[in-house]
């Protein structure tokens, strides 16, 4: 870990510098415009200072976003509609529900595809073509259709997450469940092991590294799915709603803080999956 800290910090600092420079240049035209309208003389130093402190900048400066995030995460009560913790929880709950269902669905599909020849022929093309439909196009329809039959709130968003995240799980698990060597399958045959026993003792353990690799992708796109699912609901709650509300009112600082919060949540989720992976693989005797 310590070997990584240095490079990570360098990249982080480079990004911050780039961000500040970008903020100055992008906000400068509107700021100069403002000076001109007020017939105000200005220096470069003053320009830089003002571009980093606008109310509704085109690109807010990092410290503005940091202040907003601190304010909406720590300073406000988490029950408040303005609290990012509240909105994060709304998004997170449907992310986790969708991730859970999606993983389960993905694994079940993979098990079916690996064990039943006809399922591979009939299901696999659908599994793949399901991902060619843009999620932005299908998400509002899922919300509307489910809304029409009385399902609202958490579930429709989770359905969109599920829709996105079952795919990597299915694809990896099919590969993982097929990863045992011929010699290992022959070995199970010499014991007259049933399909079920071969599955539990050989196929499933062999597939674990594949499963975790796909879970990291799945949890991240599950969050994306939940955010996308919040956009067509009229921005009631959730990080997606914050993004949408922010863009309605030109609140760029609000948009960026919601965006960064979403990124942090995704990073934490991926780290948790990675931690589970290490725990499981260590238990399975993988050399560390």
């Amino acid at each position: 870990m310590s070997g990584q800290t240095g490079p990570v910090c360098v990249v982080l600092i480079a990004l911050l510098v780039l961000w500040y420079v970008g903020a100055v240049f992008m906000n400068a035209p509107t700021q100069i415009d403002r000076y001109n309208r007020a017939d105000q003389a200005w220096t470069t130093g003053q320009l830089i200072e003002d571009t980093l402190a606008q109310d509704r900048p085109i690109l807010p400066a990092p410290h503005q976003v940091a202040v907003e995030m601190y304010h909406t995460i720590f300073a406000i009560k988490i029950t408040s509609k303005r609290s990012l913790v509240y909105h994060s929880w709304v998004t997170l709950s449907s992310t986790l529900l969708g991730f859970g269902i999606g993983t389960l669905l993905g694994v079940l599909l993979a098990v079916g595809i690996v064990h039943v020849m006809t399922l591979e022929k009939s299901l696999m093309p659908w599994v793949i073509s399901s991902q060619t439909i843009p999620i932005l196009a299908i998400a509002p329809m899922i919300i509307v259709v489910l809304g029409a039959i009385g399902i609202k709130g958490l579930v429709p968003k989770a359905v969109i997450s599920t829709y996105l995240c079952f795919f990597p799980v299915t694809i990896s698990m099919v590969k993982g469940l097929r990863s045992p060597q011929v010699i290992q399958l022959d070995l199970m045959r010499t014991y007259n092991a049933s399909k079920w026993q071969t599955f539990w003792q050989l196929r499933l353990p062999s597939a674990m590294p594949y499963l975790f690799a796909s879970l990291k992708v799945a949890i991240a796109i599950s969050l994306v799915g939940a955010i996308v699912g919040e956009l067509p609901t009229g921005a009631q709650a959730g990080l997606g709603a914050r993004l949408l509300a922010g863009s309605y009112y030109g609140q760029t600082i609000q948009i960026w803080s919601a965006l960064l919060t979403a990124a942090f949540v995704a990073a934490i989720l991926v780290v948790i999956v990675g931690w589970c992976e290490r725990r499981v693989l260590v238990r399975m005797g993988v050399k560390s």
Binding site: L187, Q197, V286
Partner: protein, 275 residues
């Protein structure tokens, strides 16, 4: 004639022993895109209880295929084969044999002990009994003390010994071994051969052993089956009667060299047929 004392013809052997594997006119043809491949043709062989039978021949002679037919991993396309009086399929269902592959094929996520207990788990034997039998099997291959290690922590030779322990754990009377020491260096191989002989002498199991090493075949076997390719067939069956507690020293004796010579002649004859 010294050879006469060591090598007997099949006909001279007393027929009182029970046949474990009985093969008559067995043939196996693989249908491939390039036309049929005659893997085995007209194979006649009897393996009796307590025999140590080696199959030797160049690659493509069908020795592994024959072992796989006995194990019901491959189906014969002609002829008859019975294991303990039943079909190979029924024998497999009764778990009548332990199979040792060319590679250890240990499951990397299981400790050595749990690899050895894998067949016992599949046979739904109680945990207490499983651990007890694993202990016994690991002792037979001198791997006690390594129960909690994972396969990657063991050398290649030790891994293969663990896989032999796994094949022994459910105490089948028939042991099928497909070039188990082929990938190991000569010193390790000699050592494992000695251990295998001791094991055979102690347990009185019937062993079918595929190899392509002449000294290994002569040293280990009570019966050597020489095979030749295209089509895979048996060209000589040589019986030896070295004592069961023989040591590696017998490899220097004239009897040993004479049998090795006969095996080599057989292999050469098999080759000249086809070139």
């Amino acid at each position: 004639m010294t050879l006469k004392q060591v090598v007997n013809n099949v006909a001279e052997m007393p027929a009182s022993k029970k046949a474990v594997v009985d093969i008559k006119k067995l043939s196996l043809t693989f249908q491939t895109a390039d036309g049929p491949v005659y893997a085995l043709s007209d194979v006649d062989l009897t393996i009796e209880e307590g025999d140590f039978v080696s199959f030797i021949g160049p690659s493509g002679c069908g020795k592994t295929t024959l072992l796989r037919v006995i194990a019901d991993l491959e189906q014969a396309t002609g002829g008859e084969i019975s294991i303990n009086g039943v079909t190979p399929h029924e024998a497999r269902e009764k778990r009548a044999y332990g199979y040792v592959f060319q590679a250890p094929a240990l499951l990397p996520w299981r400790s050595i002990e749990r690899n050895v207990t894998l067949p016992l788990e599949i046979m739904e034997i109680s945990k207490e009994e499983r651990v007890k039998r694993a202990q016994e099997a690991l002792k037979l291959v001198e791997l006690n003390g390594f129960e909690k290690k994972f396969p990657w922590q063991l050398s290649g030779g030790m891994q293969q010994r663990a896989s032999i322990a796994r094949a022994l754990s459910f105490d089948a009377d028939l042991l099928l071994m497909d070039e188990p020491f082929g990938a190991l260096d000569e010193i390790v191989r000699d050592h494992l051969n000695e251990q295998l002989l001791k094991l055979w002498a102690r347990t009185n199991k019937t062993v079918a052993f595929v190899t392509h090493s002449i000294p290994e075949a002569v040293y280990l076997s009570s019966k050597i089956v020489v095979m030749s390719p295209r089509p895979g067939r048996i060209i000589d069956v040589i019986e030896t009667d070295f004592p069961k507690d023989r040591t590696l020293d017998i490899r220097e004796t004239p009897e040993f060299l004479e049998i090795a010579h006969r095996v080599r002649e057989g292999l050469r004859a098999g080759h000249s047929n086809d070139e």
